[in-house]
Amino acid sequence: MAEALILDSEAVNALAHASERAALAERARAILTVAHERRALVRVPAPVLAEVCRGRRLDAAVDRILNGRGIEAISLTPGCARRAGALLAKANLGSDHAVDAFVVATALEFGSAVIATGDPQDVSRLAAGHRQIRVFAI
C-alpha cells in the first residue's frame, strides 16, 4: 500500500506562506522534499481546510499550494470519521481534538504515513500503538 505525508493546518500554513516566512517553513519544506524523494503521496485531510480557510486572503494562499502542486485534499469518508471517533475515545480526548483525530484516521488509510503537525503531543497520543504512523513536528 502507498506511503503518504499528511499535512495538518500548521504544515499547510507554513507551506502556503513559505516565501514570506522562510525560517518557519524550513521543517515543512524538508519533510515535503523527503516525501518527493520517497515518491510518497502528499495529502491534506478535508477537515484541515476548515482550520486554514478563514477569508479570501488566507484562502488564496491555501489554494496556491493545493492547485497543481502535487498536494491534494482528501475527502473525509463516514468510515474514516467513525475511526476518528474511536481514536478520540481511546486517547480519552474530546471533540475539541476532532480535527487532529481526522488527520490521524486519514493517515491510517495508507500503508504507512508521516503526519507533519504543529501539535505533535496530541497527534502522537491519537496515533499511539500504530507503528506505521510517525509524527513530525513542524
Binding site: R27, R29, S112, Q132
Partner: protein
Amino acid sequence: MPQSAAKLSVSVPLALAKTIRKRVGARGLSRFVARAMQHELEREQLGAFLAELDATAGPIAKTAIDQARRAWPRL
C-alpha cells in the same frame, strides 16, 4: 470512475504490458493506469513546487533534510 472518461491509445513495451495485465486483469487496467498517471503527475508538480520554493525562499539546510529523512517509519 465518477468523472467522464477519455479513451487513450498509448504504446508501451510489450513485456511491461504483459506483466501489468497479469497483475490487474483486463478490467483493472484503466484504473491502474489512471492511478499511475495521477501519481506521476503529482510527483512532477511537487518537484516543480519544491524548486520554486528553493528559488523564492532560498535553499533549506542539509541538517533539516537529514532530520526529515529519519522521520519516516521503517517497516
